[in-house]
Each structure stands twice: as C-alpha cells, then as structure tokens.
C-alpha cells in the first residue's frame, strides 16, 4: 500500500513529456518483444 502511494505520487511528478516518452518506450519494447516471439515461433517450425 505504501509503495502504491509512493508510486502514485511519483507518477504525478512526471511531466506529460516524460509520460509520452515512457509510453513511446513501452510501445517500442512491446513491439520488439512481439517480433522476437514471432521469430522464435518461426524457428521452432
């Protein structure tokens, strides 16, 4: 709970610019992860 509260406070301290960048990174790494999974599945076939 305490960690959750702290996290919430820290998130409120992020500027929208930082939030936008974090979202951009999250999307980018999710795409890379998906591509790696697809590649591994292709190799297994």
């Amino acid at each position: 709970m305490r960690f959750g509260m702290k996290l919430r406070d820290n998130v409120q301290e992020l500027t929208p610019l930082q939030s936008a960048y974090l979202i951009h990174l999250a999307v980018k790494y999710a795409d890379q992860e998906e591509a790696a999974v697809r590649k591994a599945a292709r190799r297994r076939k």
């Binding site: 409120q12 301290e13 992020l14 500027t15 929208p16 610019l17 930082q18 939030s19 936008a20 960048y21």
Partner: protein, 148 residues
C-alpha cells in the same frame, strides 16, 4: 543510393540532433528542468524569471481550478477561444506554480493578474505548457527520439 549525405540532409540531421539534445535534457530532468524568460510588467520594467515544467498532478490541479479539461486545449493552444475567462484563469494558475523569481519565490495571484503587461501572461503560460509537453512539437518529437 550514395552513402554521402547531401548538405541539406546534413543540416537537417544536425538540427534534429540539437533538438534531441534539448529534448533528452527535458525528459531526464522532468520538473527540475529550468529556462530563463523575461517578463514585462505594467510599470514598464523587464524582469528575469525562471520557468519550469509542471508534473501531471500540478497540471491537473491548474486545469481543475480553471474549470477546464486537458482535452479543451488543442495542438497549439487552440480551442479555448470561446472560454476566455477560464483560459486566463488557467494561465494564472500555471504561472503561480511554474514561475519563480530570483530567490526561488513564487509569484502571487495578485502579481500575475495585476502587474503583468498585456500578453505576458499568455507568453509565460504557453511556455510552461510547451515545456511540460502539453502543446508544441516536444511531445510528438519523442516518436523520433533514439533510445541511446
């Protein structure tokens, strides 16, 4: 296709690199990022002030106090023409929270409402919104940003 970059490409790359340098500083420093601006007061004097971006929480409070939603503001600050009172209120709230004077003191509501020359409130308010990444190219530029 030649590997050599044309002069225009080189200039564009250098410009982009410069923009990214500033952008990376802004992202890494967050609300601790500072820029100096000058403000004209009704007494005719010009003063240096420090402007910094606001976090999501502070921005939310500014918008709430002004009776506006984040979605009311368009790309370049457009879409608020029909709400001039709320817009001025928002600018005041932003300046009170995002501008400090030489000894780190914040300005009061009265300072912003009565001592700023015409147009200065919008200038500083928009600067805070731009630095925070609400309007302007900064937020969109993260798309072109390299992760190194």
């Amino acid at each position: 296709m030649s590997k050599e970059m044309s002069k225009e490409e080189k200039e564009a790359a250098l410009k982009r690199r410069e923009e990214h340098k500033k952008l990376s500083t802004q992202i890494l420093q967050g609300i601790d990022y500072r820029e100096i601006a000058t403000v004209k007061l009704v007494d005719g004097g010009e003063y240096e002030v420090t402007v910094h971006p606001l976090g999501d929480g502070a921005l939310m409070r500014c918008f709430q106090q002004a009776g506006l939603k984040l979605t009311d503001i368009g790309e370049k600050g457009a879409g608020i023409e029909d709400k001039p009172y709320e817009w001025m209120q928002l600018l005041t709230e932003l300046i009170v929270r995002g501008v400090t004077v030489e000894n780190g003191e914040r300005l009061s509501m009265d300072d912003v409402e009565n001592k700023f020359a015409l147009g200065e409130r919008a200038k500083l308010g928009l600067m805070i919104l731009k630095l925070s990444g609400i309007i302007g190219e900064q937020a969109a530029a993260t798309e072109t940003f390299r992760s190194q």
